[in-house]
Symmetry: C2
DNA sequence: CAAATAGGGTACGACGCGTACCCTGATAAG
DNA sequence: CTTATCAGGGTACGCGTCGTACCCTATTTG
């Protein structure tokens, strides 16, 4: 009896990660169990523990799998257009049923696991900050904002506020008008006011 | 044999909550177990479950116990002084070994518990926002910033950024120069530039 | 073809949650 | 003062999950 051939290496790894994604979608991080992941992937816990040391690492790996490739910075021609697109992209991203919950839960789990926290920081938090600097650089080149706008803390204010909204509100999705408010009431005024001269 | 008289009601409740605080300090939220809390408080799980439905609710109650009474808004005479004091107060607060970790863990646990999230929002997140509005109101009265500065989203930008720093960095304490940067590079310029009209 | 490796199946110990009982000390009611 | 009521103490237990251990089997490598 041949049956399906036994999966190995990358193929099996993919099957496991997608099982994790499905489980996270249905039951959330709190309801994620190693046994069920193994069952759903049609394998057993051996194969999982051989690859990831614990539940948190497994969930983080699944998260990365889900995120996939890096994004390209948008280029709409105006700073506001680029910024709104970045923010809407991040919001659409975080409002996937799985992502927001998982990220929150992982941040919580990382409270007692510095190693996990470091990985989270790299792959979730800092991953996108280059996009913002790129977009700002173009805006400076166009003369939309003064060069002083390019300052790491200033550049990431918008995404930091969005993230804050997620973490503290516990919502599954942030309404678009909140994004607009962040951009028009906070972010753009801040960038334009970085130098004494303002307003176009 | 008399022994110590049996504790009841509020007295016992205090003993339990302080046992939770000690356990959180030593082992963190992940290491907090009901059995150990009961043992440490010199009681048993009955007395705990009679008061709180689960571990998360217990930890939240301990957190509130630890926070204690509400703070008074500072009044240093300048906006920058008040703002720095609010931010330093919050930072000192969150950098207690227990608080930061516990809040992060609770936010994570709340990912699957809307009820807990609501309570957290009320008692942790929104609790202090009145202070910021008060301080801003005084600054407007002094003519330091335009009245448009009094806008909920704008007013809480500084504390939102601090919180973001905590949640995403996983640090136990945010250095003072980060606070200064938040205030001088972001918050005050934003408030002072509020009069600039916004494009839409 | 043999040896090494990775996967499958399964069982197990440890641990913690939340519940259930029954007993005892303290308080409230008669 | 006596008795009923109730909160607390002590303890045990079922359940679920983690992480590990073993042994067997399929696949790949030499």
């Amino acid at each position: 009896m041949a049956g399906p051939p036994r999966r190995r290496g990358a193929e099996l790894e993919q099957a496991i990660l997608h099982a994790v994604i499905d489980e996270l979608t249905e039951a959330g991080y709190a309801g994620l169990t190693m046994d069920r992941v193994a069952a759903r992937a049609g394998t057993n816990k051996n194969a999982i523990y051989r690859r990831w040391p614990n539940r948190a690492a497994l969930a983080l790996a699944a998260y990365r799998e889900l995120i996939g490739a890096d994004r390209e910075p948008p280029d709409t021609g105006t700073l506001r257009g680029d910024v709104m697109e970045l923010l809407r992209g991040a919001n659409g991203h975080l409002s996937t049923p799985i992502i927001g919950r998982t990220v929150r839960a992982l941040l919580g789990a990382a409270a007692d696991d510095p190693d996990l926290m470091a990985q989270l920081r790299d792959s979730v938090i800092d991953a996108g900050s280059g996009l913002w600097l790129t977009v700002l650089g173009r805006a400076v080149a166009r003369g939309e904002v003064p060069p002083e706008a390019i300052h790491p803390r200033v550049a990431t204010v918008a995404i930091a506020l969005l993230r804050n909204e997620y973490v503290t509100r516990g919502t599954t999705s942030v309404p678009d008008d909140v994004l607009v408010e962040i951009v028009d009431e906070v972010y753009l005024p801040l960038l334009r006011g970085r130098h004494a001269t303002v307003v176009d």
